[in-house]
């Protein structure tokens, strides 16, 4: 009997999608799902038009608008001319090329990475791409999902394939049990704090271990969402009963007997015992604490009980200069307790944390409390369906009574491409994924944290250890 080499989940998905093996390891890979939004697609459609090409497989493609859309008063249209042009350009392109589309007033519209799983469009074993780095989110379904540039968007539209070299396999295993107050967001921030923003470069990260297994799908989507913040284009989690139960009955998922046949296939996907990983990282879940970032990239993260670090204690000169620059930008002084840092704005939303479970977690903290004076707090659901459900569950009312703004779905204040942005110098507790300089608005200062921690900061007016409030 000849032994078959044990394979990882990623190895299996890769092998299943090779159209043609080319020289030097490069493969032509088939793409099952292509998600399209208004920011990274106009030049791609323009390229198709100029070359007289068509969209190869509209049935593998779904488009929506998210980055530019205002999160209030959208029935009156988009006021900002450049944003309006991008949205109108996508509307024209999907019509011309026959691409399925959730338009701005469709209840299914939302952040593309919320919409895919919610609609059952993103499924286990698939290859999924989108012109957006947070496409890694969909890996939580047990798929290989990567962000691509606009040239590749055009390539996928025209050919339904992508030229790729296989990534290395990295296993991040989080074992044990999470302490109270810790969520998926804290897990992934702790992972990035450990491996660094380039730790996963060249790798696909498979998240595993008891802590990951015990996460619901919302939590798994949060973890995979931030794979790219650890340098990995893709992060994934083996599909299991939690995954199958989540998918069952969703509008674009296989139905009836087809669902059962799909599950039979999906069950073959998890990594084989003994599969080889090029890099292995193990983290004790019991040691994770509620996390918050203090600097200008996501690895600049500490437990909320920590203090702002001191550049003078850093050996490497370039690193020291960089840390000082980050502190200057953030307006922070070494030695300050993180819980003494006041906030001006709180943003609960983004493809990282705008699912119904995130709304519930934030509302549980907001209930019966009130947003602190001088704090502006926004809650932005990830899709029209999340918004409707939150309203049906009474969560919107909880937020409004507590003094939060309850808004319409979109990327909102994650990236300052729409009216929701920070003013220079404003400090924000944010459930989004990037704390880069200027990310939430020119001169804006971002502290990344979980939805519960964000709600806690809103009601106290400062970064707060959620464990003080529950």
């Amino acid at each position: 009997m000849s032994a078959i080499r044990p394979r990882t989940l990623f190895d299996k998905i890769w092998a299943d999608h090779v159209v043609e093996q080319l020289e030097d390891g490069t493969a032509l890979l088939y793409i099952d799902r292509h998600l399209v939004h208004e920011v990274t697609s106009p030049q791609a459609f323009e390229g198709l038009r100029a070359a007289g090409r068509r969209v190869h497989a509209p049935g593998n493609t779904i488009a929506t608008v998210d980055h530019n859309v205002p999160t209030s008063g959208r029935r009156e249209g988009i006021k900002e001319p450049e944003s309006r042009l991008q949205v109108e350009t996508l509307q024209d392109n999907v019509r011309e090329f026959g691409v399925p589309f959730f338009d701005i007033l469709d209840e299914r519209q939302g952040i593309v990475h919320i919409v895919g799983p919610e609609q059952g469009i993103s499924l286990p074993g698939m290859t999924i791409v989108c012109g957006d780095s947070h496409t890694s989110t969909h890996g939580a379904m047990g798929a290989w999902a990567v962000g691509i540039g606009t040239s590749e968007v055009e390539h996928v539209l025209a050919t339904q394939t992508l030229l790729q070299k296989p990534a290395k396999n990295m296993l991040v295993e989080v074992n044990g049990t999470l302490p109270a107050g810790c969520t998926a967001k804290d897990v992934v921030l702790a992972i990035i704090g450990k491996i660094g923003t380039a730790g996963g470069t060249g790798h696909v990260i498979e998240f595993a271990g008891e802590v990951i297994r015990n996460l619901d799908m919302a939590g798994r989507l949060t973890v995979c969402n931030m794979s790219i913040e650890g340098g990995a284009r893709a992060g994934l989690i083996a599909p299991d009963e939690t995954t199958f139960a989540y998918i069952k009955g969703r509008p674009f998922a296989p139905q009836g007997e087809d669902f059962d046949r799909a599950v039979a296939y999906w069950k073959t996907l998890p990594s084989d015992p003994g599969a080889h990983y090029d890099t292995v990282v193990r983290i004790d879940g019991a040691e994770i604490q509620p996390m918050v970032t203090w600097g200008t990239n996501p690895e600049a993260v500490l437990p909320i009980t920590g203090i702002v670090p001191n550049p003078d204690e850093v050996q490497d000169e370039a690193e020291r200069v960089q840390m000082q620059r980050a502190l200057d930008y953030m307006g922070l002084t070494a030695g300050t307790k993180l819980t003494d840092i006041p906030v001006d704005v709180v943003f609960i939303g983004s493809c990282t944390n705008a699912r119904i479970e995130d709304m519930r977690a934030a509302a549980a903290v907001a209930r019966g409390r009130h947003v602190a004076p001088n704090v502006r707090a926004l809650v932005v659901p990830g899709s029209g369906l999340v918004k409707t459900q939150a309203e049906a569950e009474g969560l919107a009312e909880v937020f409004l009574e507590a003094g939060f703004e309850w808004r319409e779905p979109g990327c909102s204040m994650c990236l300052a491409m729409n009216p929701d942005k920070l003013q220079p110098g404003e400090r924000c507790a944010s459930t989004s994924n990037r704390n880069f300089e200027g990310r939430q608005g020119k001169g804006g200062r971002t502290h990344l944290l979980s939805p519960a921690m964000a709600a806690a900061a809103a009601v106290t007016g400062r970064l707060t250890d959620i464990r003080e409030l529950v």
Partner: protein, 206 residues
């Protein structure tokens, strides 16, 4: 795409690690439906002050670096988003090659699609090149993709490696889509086999 063969040019030193795509081209400049015109916004937060005036001490605002075609940086250049506006902004400014100890994956791939050559060299070598670059117009650096060497102003040659397939595409300025469309038959064969193996696979239709 413009082929990349040999480039001898002024190099701008940017001694920073983790230069993310939000720094290279902030999101507020992504609201364009064109590829061109982003050069003036390249590294906007570093180049311009709060009144949108040039910061005179920033490298790209100084001579001769306004004419730089090579950029030298530290680790993890281009981390963050997938926005191809980042290489578009570099290209529109005039940068054809970036030399750094490491690059983020998506940015690295995006460069090749736009005729920009990212060159990975050890930090110590990048620091040497950074010192060369500080000498300005008298110290041009050569990036030779044909021979896969970087040539210092002293004439010293530093070899670098590059993916064979990407090198071929870049040297010849080839259109990837055109190449792949020549494989339409293979794609059709795959799609037939996929339909047989996964008949449950839904097609998206509204």
């Amino acid at each position: 795409m413009q082929p990349f063969t040999v480039l001898t040019a002024i190099a701008a030193p940017l001694p920073m690690a983790n230069v993310d795509t939000d720094q290279i081209i902030p999101a507020r400049f992504l609201k364009t439906i064109k590829r061109s015109g982003l050069g003036k916004h390249l590294l906007a937060g570093h180049r311009y002050d709060d009144q949108d005036q040039e910061r005179p001490d920033f490298v790209l605002n100084r001579e001769p670096y306004r004419a730089a075609e090579i950029m030298i940086a530290h680790e993890n250049f281009g981390c963050g988003s997938s926005r191809e506006h980042a290489p578009w902004a570099l290209l529109d400014f005039g940068i054809r090659s970036v030399i750094a100890p490491s690059f983020a994956d998506i940015f690295h791939g995006n460069c090749f699609k736009n005729g920009i050559l990212p060159v990975v060299l050890p930090r110590s070598v990048c620091d040497q090149l950074m010192e060369d670059a500080k000498l300005g117009a008298n110290a041009r650096i050569t990036v030779d993709l044909e021979r896969q060497v970087v040539v210092r102003p002293s004439g010293a040659e530093i070899p670098f490696s590059v993916d064979h397939f990407r090198r071929h595409m870049l040297l010849n300025g080839l259109d990837e889509i055109g190449q792949t469309l020549a494989r339409t038959a293979e794609i059709a064969t795959y799609e037939t086999a996929r339909h047989t193996a996964k008949p449950w696979m839904p097609s998206i239709s509204l």
